[in-house]
Amino acid sequence: NTGNEWGTEEPLKEEVTGLAVNVDLQTDATLQVDISDALSERDKVKFTVHTKSTLPNFKQNEFSVVRQHEEFIWLHDSFVENEEYAGYIIPPAPPRPDFDASREKLQKLGEGEGSMTKEEFTKMKQELEAEYLAIFKKTVAMHEVFLCRVAAHPVLRKDMNFHVFLEYNQDLSVRGKNKREKMEDFFKNVVKSADGVLVAGVKDVDDFFEHEKTFLLEYHNRVKDASSKSDRMIRSHKSAADDINRIASTLYTLGTQDSTDVCKFFLKVSELFEKTRKIEARVAADEDLKLADLLKYYLRESQAAKDLLYRRGRALVDYENANKALDKARAKNKDVLQAETSQQVCCQKFEKISESAKQELIDFKTRRVAAFRKNLVELAELELKHAKGNLQLLQSCVGVLKGDT
């Protein structure tokens, strides 16, 4: 059961699994993770992470802990910083829960309460509450998908930090990074992107990786573009649905002024618009879930894949540099053993990354195709359902109205 700052209790589970952006998840009995509950407080969300496992590492077979967003980020960052995982696509971190826009709208509504009728106010309040709830469900789903991806990954699921995250029932005390750390991160990213450009310029000997590099660079940019454009389109759609809502209200007012023929007519049309705009709002919401969220997710995943390629690229550069150093050492006949060892280490690192990276990228493609298929099929089915629903409403209303005259 979830509570929020508005005090309304809403069952959470029903739509959480609706956002299964990632489909190819091996859910097996050895480790199952989900978010069974969530609580939205003033400026933070508390997720109840629930684990079922037959693994001997855990003290119990089933247990729950409460985690906040920062702790998910800590876990994600610990994967990124771990050299052992350099050859894997690190599941992208869930985005920060953001209720700012929703809160702002609610505040505006409160300020404008005096300028609208009680019915209008109640209606708008219900709308905003539904919107808030939708955002809430989404953030829960995003955090859950992250954990499920980790749990499904053959190597990451064994990670120590992951187990601590799941089991340790105290606060992990991962205080928000202080200012100095944030600055260091900023510079790290700057260096990384400069390197990224450098590394991307080097043509790869391996055809597979060369193709993947070209593909991912272009794909990532286009997904980014499609994602922002889809958001804009869906926002316009919601605005239009809101207008139809206001039209319905005004028609209702007109219809209740008298009991003439035309007033009864207005009431019927008002009722129709009330229903169609609910459907329109649903269409926008479904487009958001099945299309916009899909694109956003693959924006993050494709970035994670790019990061993997970058890490491999870095390892390759290191390997090539180690080769050059070895040649120099041999030529000068100075510190040859040291150079040989260094070269071997670089070689092993590079080969290890390349091997796992290849599999990761193939899996990424499989997951991507499956996720798009699922969501596009569901999108089309929902659009059809709603269009048919609208059609039926309009047909029956027009029939009634024409029959009356």
Partner: protein, 364 residues
């Protein structure tokens, strides 16, 4: 050279008062305004509801004159053409106005003398002129008959309805704008999906994404047509009736002015009688004669004005009931037409997505 737009007005009729059965003439916007002025001068004092013409739009018109070749100026001309057509339809539907020779001349005569002074006066401006005179209209203090309550109620209804229609019009305009925005955003999104489909290296998925881009392209056209329906069928209907309700109010105020004139005449008569009484006392025979003549004159006026008031009350009542019937018919037919356009949109939507679904299922 002063460029202007001419509109072709075609009539088809079986009425004997016209020379031919089918005929066309060319008229410019100021001609329509001129017709309105002539009809107002003649009929508004009788309590007739004169349909108001569309408003002058300086911005829209200047753009067209300058020859700006974009869709907005084409839209403007079409909007105006449709509005002028509805205006004329309402005029000829009015049984008394149709009989007016000016209307006949407007429809029939090849060359119409240029309407003078209309460049300063738009339809709304003329209405304002009539209404300004009625600013000082006083309310009836004594109800003469039950029917005055009827007029009071109807006026209140009209005022409240006008308020709601203005509100509704504003929201419909907002809808038109959001749909146009949606249209643009959908087009942009379609392109981005096509690009994404191009870079996708899984063939089936790439194909499906391109198909989705095509569906979104079709949706763009759909949204555009829907926005046009929103505007031409719904928004313009509301704009017309907001103007018409203004004319109805003017009509009611005209009745009030007539009542006022009658009341003032009665009080003038009263004063004249008081003067006569004083003169009787003062014994001034020649002045007395004049006073008696004036009394007779004003008694005549009082009778005349009372008759005028009764007559205008009958006309206004009849006009109002006719207006209500027309309004009811108009709203019903236009809104049904609008709903049918929505219906057609949804039918096409169903087809788009039915065609896409197998493409999506073919992925993998």
């Amino acid at each position: 050279m002063n460029a202007y737009i001419a509109y072709k007005v075609s009539t088809r009729t079986t009425l004997p008062m016209f020379k031919n059965r089918t005929f066309s003439v060319w008229r410019r916007f100021s001609d329509f305004l001129g017709l309105y002025e002539k009809l107002s001068v003649k009929h508004s004092l009788n309590g007739c509801i004169i349909p108001p013409p569309p408003e002058k739009s300086i911005v829209g018109m200047t753009k067209v004159k300058v020859g700006k070749e974009d869709s907005s100026s084409a839209d403007f001309v079409e909007t105006r053409r449709a509005a002028l057509e509805r205006y004329l339809q309402r005029v000829v539907c009015h049984p008394s106005l149709l009989q007016d020779p000016d209307v006949r001349e407007f429809l029939e005569r090849d060359e119409l003398p240029r309407a003078v002074g209309t460049h300063t006066l738009s339809g709304a401006g003329f209405l304002k002129m009539i209404n300004r005179a009625s600013d000082a209209v006083s309310k009836m203090t004594v109800k003469i008959s039950d029917s005055d309550a009827w007029f009071d109620n109807k006026l209140q209804e009209v005022e409240s309805e006008e308020l709601q229609l203005r509100k509704l019009h504003a929201v419909v305009e907002s809808l038109v704008n959001h749909r146009k925005e949606l249209c643009g955003n959908t087009a942009v999104f379609a392109k981005s999906m096509a690009m994404l489909g191009n870079s996708e290296d899984n063939t089936a998925l790439s194909r499906a994404l391109s198909q989705l881009a095509e569906v979104e392209d079709k949706m763009e056209t759909l949204h555009q047509e829907q926005a046009a329906s929103d505007f031409f069928i719904l928004a313009e209907l509301l704009a017309d009736y907001i103007r018409l309700l203004g004319a109805v109010r003017g009509c009611f105020e005209q009745r009030m002015k007539t009542w006022q004139r009658w009341q003032e005449a009665q009080s003038t008569l009263q004063k004249k009688r008081e003067v006569e009484a004083k003169l009787l006392w003062a014994n001034k025979p020649d002045k007395l004669q004049q006073a008696k003549e004036e009394i007779t004159e004003w008694e005549g006026k009082v009778t005349q004005y009372e008759r005028d008031f009764d007559r205008i009350s009958v006309t206004v009542r009849k006009e109002f009931l006719r207006f209500e019937k027309e309004k009811s018919k108009d709203f019903k037919s236009q809104i049904v037409k609008y709903l049918e356009s929505l219906l057609q949109s949804q039918q096409r939507l169903v087809k788009f997505w039915e065609a896409f679904l197998p493409e999506a299922k073919a992925i993998g």
